[in-house]
Point group: none
Chain length 250, copies 2
């Protein structure tokens, strides 16, 4: 029994969180009533309430007196967190994550990278890092990253091996645009990922921007198709949770 679940309300909160994040209750949807939940989880209303209040503190749900508990509209950050840290997902599942750096050095940016990072021809020196990520000793991704050199001053080969770029960069991440496509494994990627040449792979490109909109990171990921897949939550337009009797007065 883990320390997190020492208390019943903690355990119930975790169970509810899983159900909500699994999409059983879309944003705006009412949860079962406190009395229903207390019956379902065989706990008192006090305990169920503490669990719900804990989830409200996390911003996952909200409530209105006489109405009920409903899922808050939030899912964007959730999605970013899940997509942004594939390594984190694996490590939280107990896998031993290892980053093996193959190339590390400064060079002039290839044309595609230069345009994506909005660099000029004269000022196009970038840090180029190519590495393989392994989970439990098995390769699961080949990652290539380009960083403008003025942001890469603090980076060393050791830092890149130990931490993610999002942690190592001296800027605050504002967002990213990612493309996901299918391709056939190139001979070099096939060798790195221990898969046959031309077998299907997921190929992703991601352009990450700082909060001021400046592109700070261009990365390419290649995942073996048989081992990986993306999960995307597609929230629908928010349902109104305003009281029906509410009306604007002049």
């Amino acid at each position: 029994m883990s320390a997190r679940e020492e208390f019943r309300y903690r355990r119930i909160a975790d169970l509810l969180r899983v159900r909500i994040e699994a999409g059983e209750f879309p944003a705006g949807r009412l949860l079962p009533s406190e009395s229903d939940l207390s019956k379902a989880y065989d706990a008192s209303r006090v305990t169920v309430r503490k669990a719900l209040e804990a989830l409200r503190d996390d911003g996952l749900i909200d409530s209105r007196q006489g109405f009920g508990w409903f899922v808050a509209a939030m899912p964007v950050r959730q999605t970013l967190a899940r997509l942004a840290t594939i390594e984190g997902q694996l490590s939280s599942l107990g896998s031993a994550v290892e980053r093996r750096v193959l190339d590390f050095g400064f060079q002039r940016a290839p044309a595609r990278v230069r345009s994506q990072l909005e660099l000029t021809v004269g000022d196009d020196r970038v840090l180029h890092v190519r590495r393989v990520n392994l989970a439990d000793g098995e390769p699961f991704a080949r990652v290539t990253v380009w960083v403008p050199d003025d942001l890469a001053a603090e980076l060393s080969r050791g830092v890149v091996e130990r931490s993610t770029f999002y942690e190592a960069l001296p800027v605050t991440i504002g967002g990213a645009t990612q493309t996901i496509g299918a391709a056939a494994a190139s001979p070099s990627d096939a060798a790195l990922l221990a898969i046959p040449v031309d077998s299907p792979v997921l190929r992703c490109e991601r352009l990450t921007r700082a909060t001021d909109g400046r592109p700070v990171l261009f990365s390419e990921f290649v995942f073996p198709g048989h081992r990986t897949e993306f999960v995307v939550e597609l929230p629908q337009a928010e349902v109104s949770v305003a009281p029906t009797g509410l009306r604007l007065v002049e």
Copy 2:
């Protein structure tokens, strides 16, 4: 057990919206009176009124005291089914979209579909539709869809060919979870999509839920890898809904 029902007025509003958008009431046409509707839907006039007022807030209908409720002259096109229907993106880009239905019929759900749609072994009849989507005459997707049969009563082969499932289903879409993976083209898909066998394809599964959380649609998409890729926006602070879209690459 208490699967708490969604609010009646919202359910009635959904039913009326479908009837209006299906053209049962042309623009300017009077709807049945509130008392008629309350008899027809076996609900009180207060409830019917709330449903109508919800539709008025959406700009779909309007009312005049002593006259009645009528369909608005220029009904605001509902932004509801915005869930990245690829067809919509293509048609908005000017491509001629065509849906060619290959299979259409009722059958028992395969085990995986049954569990995803949360059906029981006794109650597992589903509508199974397989089709090919074409843009400008070129195939760009093979789509297979399963719908619980109680939701498929209104669907016909013609409806499926003319409209998207999101428009045709008599429920309001609440959200969806989508997985994206890479695979090798099967012989049948290769033939349908006019690509070589074993060439890389994007394979997506999507479970769509109604606003009350009930799974209403399970679909599988296969896209040729060389022509298509997904674009995912990962904003961190913005509240904007970030739709996931599929983009054709040249």
